[in-house]
């Protein structure tokens, strides 16, 4: 059985090494971020290959590394559906937005959306949206950070959140996008390599089965269950063989023990066919209307949300040309696609090994690594920690750009020198970092992929209709864009706050929630689009474009 709170010196040392590396890198690169262009977009001098891997590092956050793997480990196939939605969003980004956004913007997402209008109101609305989406996406990262630190250092969740928040704030407040890019590139590459190694180890281990051929969720055939039944190992399996055996067989369920570990429950088993079919998270077979709508809404949010995440969009300003922007997106799609394929094996491997924390699904991947040895656990935890660092720093950069560049400079018209603008960005980064720490404490224990789904829904509702129409519909007006952003933002936030999941958080029954939808995109996105069209068409004057 895998213990949750066994600390290892090596793991702690590796963790400290990661912190020392990123902080050292940030301090080393501080001179390259003395100008606003250097601080916010690394002066547009990043190579497309580096940017592509940085995209991978930026995007494969705690929600992907911990959340998707954990969800597959706990819920099976339905967890994998999240990764399909996450990846599909990149197609929208590549085919529609990569080059136009790169062509029209300078520092922030707001630059691209406001390129044809030059409107202060629009800038303010887009900056507020950037802040809200970034903060929403920061929540799962901070929750994931807290979940990681607990088994690693044996400290409470809040210490982990505080630690990550502080380190990231230092990274961003020192050298901005320059160090963020290298941290993300380093982390993206390591994440892919470690995931490959982890999948290799899972396939090499195969399954442990009992006499009846049922998969027993223990890490080794030598482990003796309470009723002393004999266990056998399947030995090394190929990827397809692994999936086929899993599908064809049954697996015993796990139960929580008093010490926090889990052990096989030989009275309950589930078929692999059921686990590799929909039903673990979404009850679609019931035919209930709201279940179906909620699922469609989630898949809509995931495919549309990626293309509307400000911290992803600003990475396009860090390369020198439109072709480089396109090439880096293709590198990102390949890397992200590979990772999600690997996450399927990682999640199923965790389920088959019983390396699950029933109280926190986010811990499945680190615990799986721990079952292969403490060195592996140390490496995976350090990578997962750097995954959080990379994404959080990207989000804080986007948020600080919205404050310093969009609101202070463009909306309020505060005259700042280049150095003052960078200083404003740094102060904004510290404030956003503090907000992120607070929210990471409030949402402790929720699955990070689930929380990321909310961030995607807000981004898809508030930003995507506005961005697409601003770029491609000739009759769009600045007021129409503002209406789209604000309506998308307000409605999606209101629906989240009134959702069954939040009602559980408030301490009420989910059934009491006035809106029985957990994912708001299916309502908020059309309203946002409609608001833009109606307001734009009602404009008396000809559009500025």
């Amino acid at each position: 059985m895998v213990m949750l709170a066994q600390q290892s010196t090596l793991a702690v040392l590796l963790f400290l090494l990661v912190i020392a590396l990123v902080v050292g890198l940030s301090c080393h690169l501080i001179r390259r971020s003395s100008s606003p262009a250097g601080y916010f977009v690394a002066s547009g001098s990043v190579h497309w290959g580096v940017n592509g891997i940085s995209f991978v590092g930026d995007y494969l956050s705690a929600a992907s590394f911990l959340g998707v793997g954990g969800m597959i480990a706990v819920a099976g196939y339905d967890g994998f559906l999240y990764s399909i939605g996450f990846l599909s969003g990149w197609v929208v980004l590549l085919l529609l937005l990569a080059e136009p956004v790169r062509r029209l913007g300078h520092f922030t997402f707001t630059d691209a959306i406001d390129a044809y209008f030059q409107s202060r109101g629009l800038r303010l609305a887009a900056a507020i949206s950037t802040l809200v989406v970034s903060i929403f996406y920061l929540i799962p990262q901070m929750v994931g950070a807290g979940a990681l630190i607990t088994p690693l250092l044996g400290v409470p969740h809040y210490v982990g959140v505080l630690l990550v928040g502080s380190v990231v704030t230092i990274i961003v407040a020192t050298s901005g996008m320059v160090s963020t890019t290298y941290v993300q590139c380093f982390k993206g590459a390591l994440l892919l390599v470690v995931s490959l190694v982890l999948v290799g180890a899972v396939l090499e281990r195969g399954f442990t089965v009992d006499d009846a051929g049922v998969i027993v969720p223990v890490v080794a055939a030598s482990a003796q269950p309470a009723d002393a039944r004999s266990l056998n190992a399947t030995g090394v399996l190929g990827p397809l063989d692994f999936l086929q055996r899993f599908y064809a067989g049954d697996i015993y369920q796990v139960r929580a023990d008093s010490d926090g570990s889990v052990s096989p429950d030989f009275t309950q088993k589930k078929s692999g066919a059921a686990i590799l079919s929909s039903g673990g998270l979404f009850n679609l077979a019931s035919g209930k209307f709201l279940e179906r709508i909620d699922f469609i809404s989630l898949m809509l949010a995931l495919i549309c949300g990626t293309a509307a995440l400000p911290h992803i969009l600003i990475r396009y300003y860090t390369v020198s040309s439109n072709v480089a922007a396109r090439k880096s997106t293709i590198v990102a799609i390949s890397g992200v696609g590979l990772f999600y394929l690997l996450s399927l094996f990682i999640g199923l491997g965790a389920m088959a090994s019983g390396t699950i924390n029933l109280a926190d699904s986010n811990m499945a991947v680190p615990l799986l690594a721990k079952s292969f040895g403490i060195v592996f656990f140390a490496i995976v935890t350090a990578i997962a920690f750097s995954a959080v660092l990379g994404t959080v720093s990207g989000l804080i950069i986007a948020a600080s750009g919205a404050v310093a560049h969009d609101i202070m400079d463009r909306v309020l018209g505060i005259k700042m020198t280049a150095l003052e603008k960078v200083a404003a960005g740094r102060i904004a980064a510290v404030i956003v970092g503090c907000v992120a720490i607070y929210l990471g404490l409030v949402f402790e224990g929720m699955n990070v992929s689930y929380l990321a789904g909310w961030a995607f829904a807000v981004a898809a509702s508030a930003n995507l209709p506005a961005l697409l129409m601003a770029l491609f519909w000739q009759r769009t007006t600045s007021r129409g864009v503002v209406a789209a952003i604000l309506s998308g933002l307000v409605i999606s936030l209101a629906l989240i706050l009134l959702s069954p999941e939040m009602y559980l958080r408030y301490g009420y029954d989910a059934i009491q929630a006035p809106v029985q939808l957990n994912h708001p995109a299916i309502i908020a996105m059309p309203i946002s689009l409609l608001a833009l069209i109606v307001v734009s068409l009602r404009a008396k004057k000809a559009p500025l474009r």
């Binding site: 085919l95 599908y247 064809a248 699922f295």
Partner: protein, 98 residues
Amino acid sequence: MMQQYTNAKVDLLFRAKLQLGIRLLLCFFSVYAIFVSLHVFKPHWLSAPVVGVSLGLVLSVGLIISTVVLALAFHLLSCRIERTFADQLLQTVTQEKQ
């Protein structure tokens, strides 16, 4: 004059790539919509075994692979469009010089 001509060409180039992107996106959206619809309306179909695993899993892995293939195809087609435009531009400049 030459600058204006180049800008017009650049706009045409963007438009051509955008049209390509929209066409490919419509194809991808259709596939994605079918994928989601199958889960919503025919979830039992996706439980059917195909090559020893569920159809849903096969489709999901297929969708991931097709996303990567689509991205590469878009890049290659965009490169071809860019080469065509560059050749046309060079031809026009040569003719104007003559």
